[in-house]
Symmetry: C2
Subunit: 434 residues, 2 copies
Amino acid sequence: MAIKLKTDYLNGFVEDHEYSLIKSAVAAAHETLIEKGDPAEKPIGWMTLPVDYDKEEFDRIEAAAKKIQKSCDIFIAIGIGGSYLGARAAIEFVKGANYNAMKKETPDVYFAGNTIDPDALHDLLSLCEGKDICINVISKSGSTTEPAAAFRVFRELLEKKYGEAGAKERIFVTTDKKDVPGKLKHFAIEKGYETFVVPDDIGGRYSVLSAVGLLPIAVAGCDIKKMMQGAEKAMRDFSSTDIEKNDCYKYAAIRNLLLRKGYEIEMFVSYKPSFMYMNEWLKQLFGESEGKDKKGLFPASVIYSTDLHSMGQYLQDGRRIIFETVVDVLESNYSVKVPFDASNIDNLNFLADKDFHYVNKQALLGTLDAHVSGGVPNVVLELDKMDEENFGYTVYFFELACALSGYIGGVNPFNQPGVEVYKKNMFKLLGKPE
Amino acid sequence: MAIKLKTDYLNGFVEDHEYSLIKSAVAAAHETLIEKGDPAEKPIGWMTLPVDYDKEEFDRIEAAAKKIQKSCDIFIAIGIGGSYLGARAAIEFVKGANYNAMKKETPDVYFAGNTIDPDALHDLLSLCEGKDICINVISKSGSTTEPAAAFRVFRELLEKKYGEAGAKERIFVTTDKKDVPGKLKHFAIEKGYETFVVPDDIGGRYSVLSAVGLLPIAVAGCDIKKMMQGAEKAMRDFSSTDIEKNDCYKYAAIRNLLLRKGYEIEMFVSYKPSFMYMNEWLKQLFGESEGKDKKGLFPASVIYSTDLHSMGQYLQDGRRIIFETVVDVLESNYSVKVPFDASNIDNLNFLADKDFHYVNKQALLGTLDAHVSGGVPNVVLELDKMDEENFGYTVYFFELACALSGYIGGVNPFNQPGVEVYKKNMFKLLGKPE
C-alpha cells in the first residue's frame, strides 16, 4: 500500500526554487508539531496511535462487533462530526456506497444523531420497524444536542422493544474515559452497557482509528487490524522532515504555496463514488483545522466523471481561484468490461472489451490535461487501491499533512473555537437553563 | 406553496441604495433573457414549460411509470449531469434520502451511467441479481460515454434475462426528437422501445421538468402533475421586472452584488438531509451557467446541523469570501418529539416533548446570528415544505434566478463550452477513430 505524490501537473504553477525556499518553514512546523504540550491543548495522540493503542479495548471492539453482527439486522451509529464522518467514510471506502443495499452477512449500518431534522429521523424509525437493532452512541461529553436527542429516541425504542435487560445487550457507548456521576460514562456503567473510550489526546476529526470509528467500521465487516497496519506503515513512510523524501510534508507545503498565490479553494477529486464520504471527512479535517483567524484554504469536493457534467464547466473556465487534489486509485476492486454492440449507435465499439477501469483512467488523464491547460494547478496523489490497509494509510497521510499544513499556515490545527458560537445562540433561543 | 426572500441577515453587507442602483441592470438582463433567439443558441423553453408542455407525452410518461411500477423491483435511470441530478434531487426531496430502503409499493430507483468506475457498476449489477429490472436511458445524443457504456451493460443484461421481446417492454429511451439513421432514436424505434423526448429548446441543467426527469420521478411514486402546477405558480409569481415585487430577481441581484464585494463562494445551506441532491442540482445549475470566461460565483453546499460539525468552523472564522443562501423549510412532513428522560444525563430535559422541527429551527436561527456576527452575509429563502408542488416551484425559482444572474454578470447562462475539453482529451487518449 502507498500514496505517491506526483507534481507533474504543477509545472508552470510552482517553481523549483519555491520548494527550496519553503523547506525551513516545513522544518519549523515539524518542530512545533512534535513539541510536547498539554494533551488537552495539543491532542496529538493520533500521531503514535497506530502502534500505541489499547490492545485490550481493541479486542473488545472486535468481540462487540461479532456480537452485534449476530444479534441485529440494523446497526445505528449515533454521532456527529468526527463521531460520524470517519466511520461512514471507511465503510463506503471499503464496502462501497451501496453497502446497505447489498446482500451480505453483516447488518445494515445507518447513522443518526448527525441532524435534528424530524423527517430524516422519522424515515430511519420506519425502516427499523420489525427489524432487530443495536445502537452505538458516540459522544465525548454525552450532551451534544444532536446525538444526545437521537440517543433518547433510540434508547426508548430499544427498551420498549426488548425491555431494560434486553436493551442493555444492544446498546454500546463510546464516550469519555472518566467516570463522573451524572455523565454518560457513569450512566452507562450503571445500566450495564459496554463502554469504549473517546481518547483525551485525540480530537474528533483525528479519531477515526480509535474506538470512535472502529466499532461501526468493524460491525460492517471491515478488518480493523489491517487499517491499523496501514496507518502504521504511513507513520513510518512519512517520518522524514525533508520534503524531497516525504510526500506527505511536500503535499502540505504545496497547499500553502498555492494558497499564497491566490488559489483559495482546494478541490478534492476522486473518480470513485465510494470515495464520496472520504471527501466529506477531508473537508472536516482540513476545514476545521485551518479555517480560523480569517485564514485557511476552503475545502470542496467532487466525484468525477459524474461532476465533470456539473462542476466541470466551472473548473475548466470559471474564476481561477481553485486547485485540485486528485486521488488517483491505481487498481479497482472489480473488473467490468464494455460490451461489444453490433449496432454501435454510440460509436463506442472502439472501447469494446476494454475494462471500465482503463476508460476511467483515461478520463482522469484527459481531465488533468484539460484543467491544467485551463489554468488549474493539479496535485496528484496515487493511491494503490481501496481496501482496509489503504484506508488506514490514507487517513494517516492526510491527518499528518493537515497538522503540518496548519502550522505552516500559522493556525492551531487542533482547536475549533468557532463551532461553539451557533450552539450558544441555539441554547439561548431554546431557553436552556444555566 | 411559496418561496419568500428575507434580507434581514444582509444588513450591514448590502445597503438600500445598492438595490436601487442595480435595478437598471436587472431590467436589462430581463430584456436580454426574453429576447427571441435561435433555440439552439438560446434554449429558454423551460421558461414557459409549466404551461406549454406536450400533454400527450406527459400522459405516456404517467402510463409508462405505472407499467414500470408493476413490472420491476429495481428501476435504473441511466444518465449524467442534467439527465441525472434533477431526478435524483426530486425523489430525495419528496420521498427522503432513504427512499430505496423504505417499505413501499414502488420500485427501488438507482442511477447508473454517471460514472465510469467499475466498482460502482459491479455493485449495482450484484444488487440486481434475482430482481426484476426496468431501465431508462436518458441521453440527447445517445453517444455520451458514461451513459452509453452503461446502457450497453444493462441492455445486454436485460436481453440475456428476458430475451429481446421481453427486454423491449423494459427499456425506455429518452433522447433527441429527430429520427436519424444510426442514432439512438432510430435504434429505439427499430427495437420497439418506448421513447420520450429531450427537448431541443431546454438545456440539460434546466430539463428536470421535461421527460428527462419526469419518468424516473413518476416511477418513484411522485405526483408529477403537482410538480408542473408548482412550477406554473412560480412562473406567475416571479413575472415582475421590479425587484421589490420579485423575490427571484432580487435574489439574482443580491448574488451579483455580493460577488462584486469579494464574496466569491455561494454556500447553499439546508437543514434537511433530503435536500442534499437538490444542493447538487443547484451546483450544476449555477456552476455550469456562470462558471465561464474566468467569472462566476463558486457554488458549494452543506447540510446543517450535520456540517456545522465539519465546515462550521470555517464558516464562522475562516477566510471571509463566502456568503450563504439558506433554504429554510417552514414545515416538516413528520413530527417527532424529544423524549423525556428521568436520568437527564445530557441536560436536555428542557427540550422534552418539543418537536425536533422546533429544535432544528432554533439551530437555524442561532446559526444565522452566529455566521452574520462572524462576517458572513446570509440570504434566507423561506420554502413552505418539501412536497411535489414545492419541488416544481423551487426548480422554477432557481432556474429563473440563475438565467437572470448570468446575464447580470455578463455571461451566457445557457452554454457550457468548457465541458467538451476533457472529452476531447479522453477520446484522444482512448484512440477514438475520427
